[in-house]
Amino acid sequence: MTPTTPPLLAVEGLSVTFDTPDGTVAAVQNIDLAVAPGECVGIVGESGSGKSQLVLAILGLLAANGRATGRVRFRGTELFGARRVQLARLRGRALSIVFQDPMTALNPYLTIGTQMTEGLGHHLGLTGAAARARAVEMLARVQIPDAAARLKSYPHELSGGMRQRVMIATALLCRPALVFADEPTTALDVTVQAQILALLADLRRTDQMGLVLITHDLGVIAGLADRVVVMYAGRIVEAAPAEALFAAPRHPYTRALLESLPRLDGPADRPLPAIPGQPPDLRHLPRGCAFRPRCPLAVDRCAAERPRLRPAGGPTRSTACHLDLDLDLDGDGGGDGAIGSEAAP
């Protein structure tokens, strides 16, 4: 967001912990995040990096053993102090979410129509034919053929891609001010994916809808996001405007993520680099930087001291790395070192 726009959503110092039989696990730690009206913030990171739990915590939808602390303000209203009723009034109306797994996120016992229109009735008092008409219109916008007939269908009668589009349509029905989309296009073929992304872009323009896009598809991020937040082991390791981040990542992990993308302009026989090692076990995080065991540039200080998120490379960027990197993806200057292909064992 630009400094002059008041944020739609402002998250400060958000942490999420889970009580497990093995003790308390910190899934998300000390996250700051802001989304302006019409802005799209992409959150990227490997599975288990805490991106989904971050979003669930903001919406108050954590599992029973999860606890969230910190401040979350939506249009200036504190959500964490908010009484349940107040959050319920925002949820589904002003704030909505597209869940990751379309196979399990729809109730198998209720028709698509019931599941789509119940929010309309609850929030907007729209019931019966008016609600159904709104649902059909939205289903058509997410490219569902024969939308009117689909309202009578049960989820098991639809393909995975159709269910995902139903989820997206349901989330958009009440014209929310802010949508969290957790891997919204993974089950879709590329044509439909492009149409859905175009629809989201459209709503951002016409409704000033804010969008938080969680994905590990960096291609989707590049096409849609204004800003990108990179998460690793529950923390933000880098935050930057999308263009700047793709042009010059400042954290070795971001760099490695970008390196592992296939590139059309690269040599065809170049082996696709992978990030060596595994994401760390959140119950036993290493001392110092969580990425250090997999980082080819690690120095002694990385093991001793955890790097804080600090401004780096301009006022709009920050990174959590001790090294002052200016990594250039093309590797032809300025970089303190190339990682990725050389790092593979």
Partner: protein
């Protein structure tokens, strides 16, 4: 769905035939006969009696005669209650058994479902542990232990309820409670397990994300799927209540078909026992079919065709 029901009923015919044949021949294998408890009769009179009831014919011929009667809806005369036909005895006893059985099932579904829901909503807290403790006791105690215990405590020591007989609503309380207890236990456990699983489901989170109030999420999204395993258990529950009522009716002196079944077996009242067996078998087959149809109607993923 109608086609499915008709096919199920057609398949039920050989099942019913096998049950009838097994019961018929097992009764005949049991030592003794229907007239053994009479004062010793002159040989000629006993001979005449046996001839009157066709007991002098070969067993297979008697079986054929019995089946022929069944086809005409005739269960034959009772050997013991000589003034009554089996049809009349069942007509007198069945409404009584039906009342007790239906009340027990209803009671079990309401109390068991309520206990299970309470336990699931307060999972791993005191209400959950208390409800599951009650359920375990209910499962562990057989009805011939529960019935005397209830009679002693509520009937004899506290003098709150009559200990037997039939006619007033108060007299129905103990037998219904005895019959319902194990079903309450099983249904409570099923309902708890079903609801606990459903409450963890992704689609419940989706419903909460829509901003629906908690009671609405529970009522519309959670209870319905959680009810399905309970409904599918109702078939076995009905069978268990029917067999349980045989014991319970005898203990509490209730004039239902269950008591006729026990008396008929003791008296070698062949036709009475057979009549009750046919009734029970038909009832269980029919009610299981009803339960399956209801199950298919509840779960949109199950379609019979």
């Amino acid at each position: 769905m109608i086609g499915y029901a008709v096919r199920r009923l057609i398949v039920a015919i050989p099942t019913l035939l096998i049950i009838i044949a097994l019961a018929f021949f097992m009764m005949r294998i049991a030592p003794g006969g229907p007239f053994d408890q009479e004062r010793s009769l002159p040989a000629q009179i006993e001979q005449n009696l046996r001839a009157a009831y066709h007991l002098d014919e070969p067993v297979w011929q008697q079986f054929g005669r019995y089946l022929g009667g069944l086809l005409r809806g005739d269960f034959g005369p009772s050997f013991k209650y000589r003034d009554f036909s089996v049809t009349e005895l069942i007509a007198a006893g069945f409404p009584v058994s039906l009342q007790i059985g239906a009340a027990a099932i209803l009671f079990a579904v309401l109390v068991g479902g309520g206990l299970g829901a309470l336990a699931a909503v307060h999972q791993n807290r005191t209400p959950d542990h208390a409800a599951m403790a009650v359920a375990t006791v209910g499962l562990a105690l057989p009805n011939f232990v529960v019935a005397p215990l209830l009679t002693l405590c509520l009937g004899v020591y506290l003098d709150l309820l009559p200990v037997g007989g039939w006619g007033s609503p108060a007299q129905a309380v103990l037998p219904i409670a005895t019959l319902a207890l194990p079903q309450i236990a099983t249904i409570a456990r099923l309902a708890r397990a079903g609801l606990v699983e459903v409450l963890r489901a992704d689609y419940i989170r989706t419903a909460r994300a829509k901003g629906l109030p908690g009671w609405r999420v529970l009522a519309r999204h959670a209870l319905y799927p959680a009810v399905v395993p309970v409904v599918s258990y109702l078939g076995p529950a009905i069978a268990a209540v029917i067999t349980g009522s045989v014991v319970v009716e005898t203990i509490f002196g209730i004039p239902g078909v269950g008591r006729y079944f026990v008396q008929g077996a003791l008296n070698r009242d062949y036709t009475l026992v057979m009549g009750v067996v046919v009734l029970y078998a038909g009832l269980i087959i029919a009610l299981n079919l009803v339960v399956d149809l209801v199950y298919g109607w509840l779960d949109p993923r199950v379609r019979y065709d």
